[in-house]
Each structure stands twice: as C-alpha cells, then as structure tokens.
Amino acid sequence: MSEKKGLLSGGYEKVVRNKRYIFWFWLLNLTLAEFGVAAFRNQAHAILDNSLYSGGLVHGFDLGVFSEMLARPEFGPMMASTMPALYFAQVFFVFAVLFLPGVFLGYASNYRLPRDEFFRACGRNLWRFVRLLIVAGIVMGIVTGILFGIRGALVKAAGESTNELLGFEVSMACLLVIFLVMTVMRIWFDLAEVDIVLSDQKKVRKSIGASFRHTFRHLGRLLASYVVTTIVAGIILMAGIWLWRHGVAAPRVGRAFVVSQLTLGLLLIPRFWQRGIAVAYWQREMAHAVVPPVVPLPVAS
C-alpha cells in the first residue's frame, strides 16, 4: 500500500515540478485545435452573425437552430468541417510522440531541463519511438481487436436475452475488462518508452521485453496507480462539464471558453501523472540494470 502511494505521489511530484510541460502541451493542443475548427467557425459566422434566428443559440442551445445551421447548403458538407478536427487530433498525437522523450528526461532529472537537452532527447529518440509505436500499434490493435470482437459477440448473444438490461450490462462489463487490459498494455509501453529514453536504449525490443517483465512483476501497484489517475481524469471531465453547464450563464461565451480550457488543461494532468508514475517506477525498479548514466549532464552556460 505504501509502495503504491509512493508511486502515485512520486509521479505527481514530477508533474508538479514540471508544470510547464502541461502548459505547453495544452497550448499545442489548443493551437492545433484552433486550426481544426477554423472551417467550422468561418461557416458558422457566415450563417449566424447577421441573423436574429441565431439568437436561439445564445440564450440557451436550441438544437433546431443548430441542426438547421449544419443542414444549410452554404455550411457545406459536414465532412468539410469535421475532418480537419480529426486531422488535427492526429497531428497532436504526432507532436506528443515527438516531444514525450523530452518530458521523460525532464521528469527523470532533478534539475530544470534546458530546452536544448529537451529537444536533443526528442530528436535522439524519435526513430526509436516510431518503432516502438509500430510494435505497440500491432500488439494493441490485435488485442483490442480480439477483445472488441469478443465483446461484440457477447453483446449480440446477450441481446437475444429477454432481459433487456443484460445486453447493456454485458457491454459495460466488457468495456471495463477492455479498459483494464488496455491500461495494462499502456503501462507496458509507457515503461518501454521511459526505458528507451532513460537507458538510451537503441534496441527497442530490449526495452519492450524488460518493461513487459516489470509490468507483470508489479502489476497490482502499477495498475492501481493508473486506474486511480484515470478516475481522476473522469472526475475532472465531469466536474468541468458540470461547472460549464451550471456555473456559466448560456450567453457568456468568454467564460465558457475559460472553463472549457481549464477543464482541458487539467485533463492533461492525469496522463502526465501516469508518465510520472512510469518514470518513478523506472527509477526505483528498472534503473539498476542500466550501466552507463544516460542522462546527459547539463551544459554550464
């Protein structure tokens, strides 16, 4: 129990010590999303700005007005405004891949990591991360594919039952299992990412193997830590939406923006916390295997 608390608090400490990473990732997230919604925003302004009918969206949220806006030919096909959002979500993912090595290095350091070291770590580990992601993608794809396939079959079978709720209950139970399995895999590949960066491991398969063994060696501690942080994320999301709904008057667009961004900013914390946990775990359990120190010393300036 104390070890688990240690992992959680150790990880959290790293997040708090390196708050700037969360800020930058939030800013990156916001900036990319701004590009993603540009088409949607332009079309919305063109239709709504000079019409009294659009008032139904200000003092409440009239779904009739909203759906009519989406249905207007001048709004264009839905794909034209929604696809950019999906593209930019993927670009954010790419940036996350690119910058995470720097974050790991920062979390492992007991000093404020200079920018050049941060980006050097990003560059040095980029190709390794790409390879790791390919492996992770294949493994996670296969496992989740199988699990969702089983879920589909079970839900279909349950759907034939005369107990109407059974299908829903089976679906929820399956999703819980899938969540736990995916979290285990997330832990595995998080540890592998950390190991690649902090061990300066060129052979990705070695990090994958080591982290696999460690994942299952201390599964309870790690899984509990990850589940707790996921629950925190859920609470943040629910609380943010609740505050948005009940704490912000419908016409106050500026306040709504602040609350929504605050929610999204806070929502980044649990994931970085998980990475902090992975780094803390690596330092306690896996670091001994590393012979040469991999963290480059800061260059005095």
Partner: protein, 702 residues
C-alpha cells in the same frame, strides 16, 4: 326391405325438415336478441352472447345475413359508422413457429350501388418475401426498418389462403388470382382477386369463408415476432375498399400503410396459456383449454382493423380510466418489465393527449385503449391500430427527453382520430393521416411541454416539435408534393419528410394565414363531419375554406399539390445620411451626432424560390422604433425605404413566426451589425470536442 326403408326415410325427412325450419327462426330471432342483449347486458356477457348468436346464424347458412349493430365496444347506443364488413376470426397462434392458423368468416354488405363480380383481398404478410414489392421498394428507396442488405430466413412472412368458399356459390379457391395493380411485379402476392360466378347485387350481403395460415417474420414494419413477443398486425385476408366507383386495393409497399372499411370484428385468439395478450376492441371472454392454451375473445365495433399482441413478460397496468365526453375509456398498458417505472409516464401522456383531442377536435367514442410497450430492438414500436397502439420506450429515459415515450405515444394516439376514425386512404393520401397527425402532435406537445422544448429540455439543450417537423422537410422540400401517392415518392426520406414534416409545416403556416382559432375550428368540423368515413384531400381542404370563409386555392395549389419551395430573405440593409456629402466636406473623423442626422435606410427583400406567399416585415431602427410592412410576395424582390433620424438596426420577415414552411430561417432576418456570439458559442463547443479528441487519441496511443 323397401317398406322398411320408407318407414325409416319419412320420419327422418320430417325431423330434418322441422329442424331446419326451427333453426331458421332461431337465427332470425337471434339478431334482435343480440342487439337487445348488447344494449342491456354487461359488456362481456353481451358480446359473448352476440358473437355466439351470430355464429349460429352463419353456421346454418340459412339465416338472414347482416352486419351486427352491436355497440359493445363503443360508448354509444347506436352504431357510429356505416358498417360494411363483419369479420369473425377464429385463430390459433403457434408461438414456436410464429404462425397463425385461422378460419375467417367475412360478411360484406354491398353498399356500392352496383353489382359486384369480383373482390380483391389484401394479403399483407406476403410483402415479406425477397421478390415482393415491399422488399424491392426498401432496397430502392431506403427504409425506416430493414433495408434488406442481406436476405435472412427470419425476414420471411407469408399469408396463404388454404380455402375460400362463397356462401351459396361453393368453393372458389381455384378462382383466386394474384394481381399487381401498382407496379406489375408478378412476384408480388400482397393482393389477390376473387371473381365470383354470381355477382352480388346492390344492397345484398355476401359471406366468404376463408381458411388461412399466416407466418409472421421477425418484426418488419410493425408486425411480427421478436424473441417471445409477437405483434399481430395486418395478419388476416382483408377485403379492399370500394371507393369512388372502383375497388381500391393497393399492393403493400415499403412506404404505404393501409385502407379498409368500417365494421364489426369478433375474434377468437388461442395462444399458449402463459402469454399475456392485448388486442383491439374489448375482451369479452377468456377460457383455458385442455391443451395448455387459452382462448381470448374480442369484439370491436366501428373499427376497420384488428391487431393483437402477446408476450409472456408484459407487466400490465390497467387501473387507469379516462373520463371521456361519451363515457369512460378503460386504459390498458402492456409494459416491458424493464420499463415498468415508465408506466405512469405512458398513462399521463395518454390522458393529457386524450383530454386535448376531445376538447379541440371531438370525442373518443371507444370504451378501451390498449397501449403496448413493444419488445426492445423490435421493429414494432410506434404503430397505430384501432383502439390499440404501440409506443416506444427504453430503460434509459431521462425526464427532460420527451421523444420516447411521450412523442411516440401521443402520435400513435392521434391516429385514433386521423386514421382510426377519419379513415383516409393511407396508400394514396398518406399526408392526411401521418401529416395531419403530425400537425396535431405539434399542437398537443407544445401545449403540454412548451413550444421551445416539446421534444427535449435536457443538459441545457432544447428542441421544439415544430422545429423537428420542419427539419425533416427542408432537406427534401422540392422532391415531391404532399398529394403524391405514398408509394411514388422519390425516396423513403422524401416520403417521411414530406408526409410528416411538410404537412405539419404547411398546416402550421395555414394557421398563421387563417388564424389559430379558425384552424382549430376547421379541424374540429372536419373531424366531426368525416369521422367514420373515408374523406379525400378535397374534403379536408374544402372544409378549411368553408370554415375560414376564405379562398385558399392559391395556397393549396402550391403547398399541397405543388412542389414549390418557400424561401424569403432579407437580402440587404443600408443606412446612410441623406446629406452624406456634407459629412464628406467636413472631413473624416468629424462625426455628426446620430440624433440629428437623417438617414436614408433601405431594406431589400428577395423571394428566392417559387412559392409565392404574402409576408410581413418588421424593420427596427436604432432609436427603438419599429415599422411593419406587408409585401404580397409576387415580384422577385422589393425594397422599402425610410428617412428617419435613426439607422436601420434589423429587419425581419415574418416577425410573428407564423410561416413554418420557409426553408431557411436564417435569412428571414438581417441585422446591420454582426453579432459574433452565436458562432463563437458553437465554435467553442466544437473546439472543446476537437481538443478532447486529440487528448483521447494521445492518451491511449502514446
């Protein structure tokens, strides 16, 4: 030997002859007795006696054949409709095979004024076959239910006539011929025609004795089985309607519903004894059989169809009574166990709706209403049959959401008026039942839940009924007219959008033209005048003209019979100082006080489409002044000019929001200054979703 035979033969002849005479008298005496019993005895006993007496008359084949004038199932002491048919059906349901084996005695009263030498019958369940028109339509036009991407055995349904006898003319089974009056599809067997050797004289009765088997598909088009549930709709051979000098008996299409004559139904339904059963009409008896089955007997008066349902798992709520204008109406709710907590919601919406329909349009005359909450995931939800409707509910039903069950139950109850009693031709004039019903749905739901949230008020979002109806129409506005036959629409979406959404919008707009009170009066007059008949489009439209005292042909021609699209816009606004050159002389930056400046303000209106409708315009100025204008809408555009010591702030066509038919509400108004708030608000939502998507992807993938 001969003498012995004669001795035996003569007493036998005497006995048989005397018996026949007695039976004839008995049968003749039975009809008045039956009516008397119905009027005086309790419903159950009366109906049972009536049904039995009638059966005796039919069985003898010698009695005076007639349509019973019973009033067991209505709160009336005399029949309310001109009764053309009497169906007596004895059916046994095989729950394992999903089949019904039945005998049907149909008594038909020839009120056509001419001799009839052939009779078409609907065999609706034959629609559920891969080459049938119904399935082809679904593949071509799309469908509310299955689009039949892949054919599965469970989709198969059939309705086979095993034998057919016309009393007095013998077995005519061999004379039956399938016909395809709509599309000539020789593989469609949903209509069968019977040519009778001896034509039936005007005013005469004819009896058909039919033995048939129906096999239900897994629920298709609100009929069939799902798991251990069954909804028996359109399940027996039904004779067509003689309408305007010809038989009207269309094939069953994916977008069509039904059409039938009023009459009396006596139905015996034998099902496994574990089933909970509900049906049209009143239940007059139930009896356990020795083979583990139970037989329920139902009687219906002044109805034109009969549907039933069975499931072992229904939970029944039947303590509700609605005190109608003509008498009490017993409400029976057959609920799914997981929806039991919603039984009160079902009852409340039914009572609220009945109250409004009685107040606005006329009385509900039947003694019963059965509301079925059908099997989840079945295609049985949202259907109307006389005195019997299916709702649609889910175990998850938050309070602010009024679509399931409220809107569905309200809509299906509305069909008791617009289909059940005002029995329009659903094949040809679908808008007259679905559309008029959608209009009254808007009126009822708005009055119960409020105009802006009659469908939804949840999580800060609202949705009104009239917006939802209009939303279905605007995407298909120019494809078909309301007057199109239901099976000749461009697509399933066009059928739904025009039939339901456009009709509701057309009638709401009409309400704006003739006034809400006049429209309500017209609807009431229409209902009272045409209940228990088969009115046409013109019957409805002329009633509105008569009640309003207005010639509305110009409107009906475009809105009902045409495909014209209505779209007016405020295309431009302009305000500049009349003495604009003086400001220029004074130079930039020296702005004169607005209060002293006289502005020339201009508002341009543009009729973008081909629907011509007079419109009101409201122009608002920066000093708060408002000016109303009227434009006949005839020309393509018009401009209104003002010289005032204020600029134009905004202009709005239809400021009282009466024209629900306009395809684009956004361009109905224009403001001089842009207000970015609405766009910022919706963009902020989209921004949040986009960011969250990015985070979620990064969470799991890296």
């Amino acid at each position: 030997m001969k003498i012995e035979r004669l001795i035996l033969f003569f007493p036998a002849v005497l006995v048989v002859g005397y018996s026949l005479v007695l039976m004839g008298h008995g049968a003749k005496a039975a009809a008045p007795l039956q009516a008397k019993a119905a009027a005086t005895a309790p419903a159950k006993a009366g109906a049972a006696a009536g049904a039995m007496a009638k059966s005796a008359s039919v069985a003898s084949g010698t009695g005076a054949v007639s349509i019973p004038d019973t009033t067991i199932a209505v709160n009336s002491d005399k029949p309310m409709s001109e009764r053309v048919v009497h169906y007596e059906i004895d059916a046994k349901y095989d729950a394992a095979k999903h089949t019904v084996d039945a005998t049907e005695v149909l008594t038909y009263h020839n009120l056509t004024g001419q001799a009839l030498d052939h009779f078409p019958f609907h065999l609706y369940q034959n629609a559920f076959q891969p080459k049938a028109t119904f399935v082809r339509d679904a593949k071509l036009m799309g469908s509310r239910d299955s689009a039949y991407a892949k054919w599965e055995d469970k989709f198969y349904g059939s309705e086979d006539i095993k034998s057919l006898e016309v009393v007095g003319q013998g077995d005519l089974t061999a004379q039956l011929q399938y016909m395809q009056p709509d599309d000539g599809n020789k593989d469609d067997k949903t209509v069968v025609d019977l040519r009778v050797p001896k034509p039936i004289a005007p005013g005469a009765y004819v009896q058909f004795k039919i033995a048939f088997q129906t096999k239900f598909p897994e629920t298709q088009a609100r009929s069939g089985w799902k798991r251990d549930f069954v909804l028996g709709g359109q399940w027996f051979p039904k004779v067509g309607v003689w309408w305007h000098g010809a038989w009207n008996c269309h094939q069953y299409h994916n977008t069509t519903e039904f059409f039938a004559d009023f009459g009396v139904y006596d139905v015996k339904l034998t099902v496994p004894d574990y089933e909970v059963v509900g049906a049209s009409g009143v239940q007059v008896s139930d009896a356990a059989n020795s083979d583990g089955t139970k037989t329920y007997t139902y009687h219906g008066d002044d109805i034109h169809d009969f549907a039933w349902t069975a499931s072992p798992r229904y939970k029944v709520k039947e303590d509700g009574v609605f005190q109608g204008q003509m008498g009490p109406v017993k409400l029976r709710f057959l609920m799914q166990p997981a929806h039991w907590s919603q039984a009160e919601r079902h009852e409340k919406i039914v009572k609220d709706t009945m109250e409004r329909f009685e107040k606005w349009y006329g009385p509900y005359p039947y003694k019963t209403l059965t509301v079925v909450d059908p099997e989840p995931d079945s295609a049985a939800g949202g259907m109307e049959y006389p005195t019997f409707i299916t709702g649609d509910a889910s175990w998850f039903a938050p309070k602010g959401e009024h679509i399931f069950p409220e809107v569905v139950v309200e809509h299906e109850f509305g069909h008791q008026y617009w289909y059940g009693m005002v029995a329009t031709n659903e094949f040809e004039d679908a808008w007259m039942d679905e559309g008029i019903n959608s209009y009254t749905e808007v009126k009822v739901m708005d009055s119960i839940f409020g105009e802006d949230s009659s469908m939804l008020r949840m999580a800060g979002m609202t949705l009104g009924e009239r917006e939802a109806q209009r939303g279905g129409y605007i995407g298909v506005a120019d494809l078909d007219s309301m007057a199109e036959k239901a099976y000749e629409y461009y697509s399933s979406n066009a059928y739904a959008g025009i039939t339901y959404g456009k009709t509701a919008s057309v009638l709401l707009t009409l309400e704006g033209i003739i006034g809400e009170d006049t429209m309500a009066k017209a609807m009431s007059v229409y209902f009272m005048k045409y209940r228990f008949t088969h009115p046409t489009k013109e019957d409805f439209l002329k009633t509105i003209e008569e009640v309003s005292g207005k010639d509305l042909r110009w409107y009906f021609k475009q809105a009902v019979y045409g495909t014209q699209v209505l779209d007016y816009e405020v295309s431009k606004l302009s305000s500049f100082p009349v003495n604009w050159y003086e400001d220029e002389k004074k130079g930039a930056g020296k702005k004169k006080d607005d209060k002293d400046t006289v502005y020339l303000s201009t508002v341009w209106l543009h009729r973008k489409e081909d629907f011509v409708l007079p419109v009101e315009l409201e122009v608002k100025f920066t000093n708060g002044e408002k000016v109303r204008e009227h434009w006949d809408g005839q020309s393509r555009w018009v401009k209104f000019q003002y010289e005032k010591k204020a600029k134009v702030e905004s202009a709005e066509i239809d400021p009282d929001h009466k024209i629900q038919l306009d395809r684009n509400f956004f361009n109905n108004s224009r403001t001089a200054e842009a207000d970015p708030k609405p766009a910022r608000k919706v963009s902020n939502y989209w921004l949040f979703v986009t960011q969250w998507l990015g985070q979620a992807l990064a969470w799991w993938a890296v």
